[in-house]
Amino acid sequence: MNRSFSISVQQSLWQIPALIALAVIIALGVNHWRSDGIPLVGDWSMEARFSDAAGESLIIELAQARRLFEEDDGVLFVDARLKSEYAQEHISGALSLPWQDADRYFAETAGRLESRKTIVAYCDGEDCDLSHELALFLKDMGFENVRVLVNGLTVWRKAGLPIETGN
């Protein structure tokens, strides 16, 4: 038993770096030669994280979103969070379209979405990606003017702008 242990330890001391090195070489090599490879150091800045397929940023600033809310009838805010979170509080007049069940809710709400000029998707939290995913989804469905209000609920509330509760 003792012998087995020391041999195993010796072997693992070179096998571990060898496996890791092999994984690194293959990974970088394959990534380099494939057409859908990714950069070795990604751009995880907010602009990059909230862009569309073409790399254009979908972010809308609070001031602009506020202006649309107050002046433009053609805007529709869409809440990408769960129904339960929407019921707790949401931006006044916003539509609930939980990303987790987007297909189903989209079928139900497509009528309300179609007539709008601008759609502003939002969720809660700076790192929340639900709004981004929902925006991409809506763009795929053919809506052209879709934006994302990052950390929407919190910044909206902090600015003292209208919030509703319930369904």
Partner: protein, 171 residues
Amino acid sequence: MMTSYACCPTDISRTPSRVFIVLRLFLGAVFIYASYDKILHPQAFAQAVYNYRILPDALVNLTALILPWLELLLGLCLAAGFWLPGATMISTGLLMIFIGSLAFNRMRGLDISCGCFATQNIEGPADLWTMVRDLIFLAVSIYLTLVVFFFRSADLQSSASKQPLQTRFRP
């Protein structure tokens, strides 16, 4: 040292048990299966790694690129019974890191499916199941590691090209 080994191997079992082989194949298959989708969709996996909010941004892509291939190699080694000391150690280490990351995020209320901090606890049974599942894999991996390190005689550990130590030192 040479004489004692040539004459009296002290290892308890010289042939791997059926349980060991089955579990080795099982864990190998798990790793191979886990790596497949991540290799095919690197950007999506990078987003998933990012959503854990643990690594610094600069390391996200490298991790997303290298990890799946490491899993594939581990799976192949485990399935083939190749480089087992190294493979079982890395496998156990990786699983501990995965479970640790899940537990850490569960504790700080981060929903890893979207990378957002939930204001209320909306975690479904699915997330708990993931951790239970990974704990089972970890248990298997620990078992394999212990068997490889304590109960395998040297000639079974060596790769095919090496001669068994016993025949080499026979007078």
